[in-house]
């Protein structure tokens, strides 16, 4: 299987603290990998390192090889921006509350703009929302293009964050998702699972690396666990809990 992402002997040191040491793993085409591990062990730091984000005080050694880009740690500023524009990354924290009057239209349209080169109109954004997220029972959208995320609940912000990336970059080779279910209620957690499941089914070549403490994703194919001693492959099939209800044969929640 052709590797989309290869982590080779990666060590991460944040100031004087050694966070990760000699971590290695690969993710191939079509694999959906859950990265698990205790809080603070360095899962999010590893994901950010793949995108070279939050580098202040951080030392990264080893190789992070992404197909088509080579070693990410050796890319220059322009190359790293091109790389970021080609992969789909959902960050752990949403900071829309700090972004003033920004609208859903801006978030979604700008998410797609670096790769597609075009901005979406208000109606195109609404079409995209309707395409990806089911409406309420009274036919209202959870949010529309003109809504202001600064006023959203934590769950709505999270949903927007995942939607904005997945709906605008469905053809990315690599999807990285950090804690997609933070602050989400039962319905929206299932919506997010369905969103990710759909993009994987639409683009079966996509490699996915995901962090989540909730085990509700039926489409996970493999689990690796970060431990204080390094990284280990979790044996056996991924166990999906049914606390959010039952899913169908294709892994979609109703």
């Amino acid at each position: 299987m052709d590797s989309v992402l290869s982590i080779r002997d990666v060590s991460i040191q944040i100031r004087n603290q050694q966070l990760l040491q000699n971590i290695s793993f690969d993710i191939g085409e079509g694999e959906v990998v859950l990265l698990s591990g205790a809080n603070g062990i360095g899962k999010s730091s590893l994901l950010k390192s793949i995108l070279r984000l939050d580098n202040e005080g951080k030392t990264i050694n080893g190789e992070i090889i992404v197909r088509g880009f080579g070693d990410i740690l050796k890319l220059n500023s322009a190359e790293i921006q091109k790389f970021r524009s080609r992969i789909a990354y959902v960050q752990q924290r949403d900071e829309y509350a700090e972004m003033g009057n920004i609208q859903v239209k801006d978030i979604i349209s700008e998410s797609g703009q670096p790769s597609s080169g075009k901005m979406l109109s208000t109606s195109e954004v609404n079409d995209l929302i309707d395409e990806w997220i089911p409406r309420h029972h009274d036919n209202r959208r959870i949010f529309d293009a003109k809504s202001k995320p600064a006023k959203f609940s934590g769950g709505e912000q999270r949903l927007l964050s995942v939607l904005s990336v997945i709906a605008t970059r469905p053809n990315a080779e690599l999807l990285i998702v950090d804690e997609p279910l933070n602050n989400l209620d039962f319905i929206n957690a299932r919506n997010i699972s369905n969103l990710i499941n759909r993009v994987i089914r639409d683009n079966p070549q996509m490699a996915v690396l995901m962090i989540s403490h909730c085990r509700i994703f039926p489409f996970i194919t493999r689990e690796i666990k970060l431990t204080p001693g390094g990284i280990e492959e979790v044996p056996g099939p991924y166990t999906c809990h049914s606390c959010f209800g039952e899913h169908d044969d294709e892994g979609f929640y109703k």
């Binding site: 970021r84 990354y89 900071e95 700008e110 790769s115």
Partner: protein
């Protein structure tokens, strides 16, 4: 932007209220051309004034028991008053006076208003018409007898005073001191060089000036910091999405500059207007210009520092 502009205007107005008088004194001293002032017995018939030991005083009303706290000089009858002394008065009438600008503003006096003084020779209270308002005058050294003076009053020539009251002459000149000594009937005393007067005013002024400029720097940095805080999360989102970094840099600079630079320009203009209303001096204009330049430099430095942190 408005808040930042108002903060800068507030600092500017505060500065003018605190150091405007000193700035005006420096302006006046710089515009003057004499080298030093000196006390002599007799006038030299150019840029000289009588000063009396007797207590001549002026008040705002005929009945007032409180006199104005001012230095008082009298024009000589025959002297020529040139532009060598910036605050020289035109020829005044016997019952006319010229007062310095700070005193006029402090007491709300204008041309044509009256001051009152009990004539030491004839004992009657006379009305004195304000015929001229003079630039602010340094009274730190020239008139060392009263360091708390609020300003200067120049009287027109009064022969009764000149003939009956003991007096000396304060001369403002650039004639070499040895030449002046040889031609005078006594030794000139109490020599004060204009450069020393400027130095004294500058020394008085400097701590306040630095404090106000520091406030301007802090306000400018604050404006950049808070504008940066407004946009930084959005900028981080865009860099994470893979937008071109140079374009983002350009947008970031445009955003910060479009807030800070117009605010500095507006504050500069409002401060100049405020200074004009309260009696503009050349040095006040220089102060505002320096403050604006320092604010702009601070903005440029701060915005680059914040930008570097933004992309880390």
């Amino acid at each position: 932007m408005l808040f930042f502009a108002l903060a800068l205007v507030f600092i500017g107005v505060l500065a003018i209220l605190s150091i405007g008088k000193n700035l005006a004194q420096i302006s006046s001293l710089l515009r003057s051309d004499y080298e030093y002032s000196v006390t002599m017995r007799d006038p030299i018939l150019q840029d000289d004034y009588y000063q009396f030991e007797a207590g001549i005083s002026y008040s705002l009303s005929r009945e007032s028991q409180t006199s104005l706290n001012a230095e008082i000089l009298m024009q000589t009858g025959d002297s020529l008053y040139t532009t060598s002394v910036d605050w020289n008065a035109e020829q005044l009438s016997k019952y006319g006076v010229a007062i310095s600008d700070g005193m006029a503003r402090r007491y709300g006096l204008k041309l044509g208003d009256l001051l009152y003084s009990k004539h030491i020779v004839d004992g009657t209270i006379h009305e004195y018409t304000i015929e001229q308002i003079l630039p602010e005058v340094s009274n730190i050294k020239s008139f060392a007898r009263n360091s708390f003076s609020e300003g200067l009053i120049i009287m027109g020539y009064d022969d009764q005073y000149a003939e009956n009251i003991v007096h000396t002459t304060r001369v403002y000149t650039k004639t070499p001191i040895d030449q002046l000594s040889s031609s005078a009937s006594d030794m000139p005393v109490n020599i004060v060089y204009r450069t020393d007067e400027i130095a004294v005013v500058v020394r008085t002024l400097t701590p306040y000036l630095l404090a106000f400029l520091l406030l301007s720097i802090m306000a400018s940095y604050g404006a950049v910091y808070f504008t940066n805080r407004e946009v930084r999360h959005n900028m981080k989102r865009l860099i994470m999405l893979g937008f071109d970094k140079e374009s983002l840099d350009s947008s970031y600079f445009t955003r910060i500059y479009s807030v800070c630079l117009p605010a500095i320009a507006v504050a500069f203009l409002l401060s100049i207007i405020a200074a004009f209303i309260s009696g503009f001096s050349f040095m006040e204009g220089i102060y505002f210009l320096i403050a604006a330049v320092i604010e702009i430099v601070t903005v440029f430095i701060a915005v680059n520092g914040c930008r570097k942190r933004l992309w880390r």
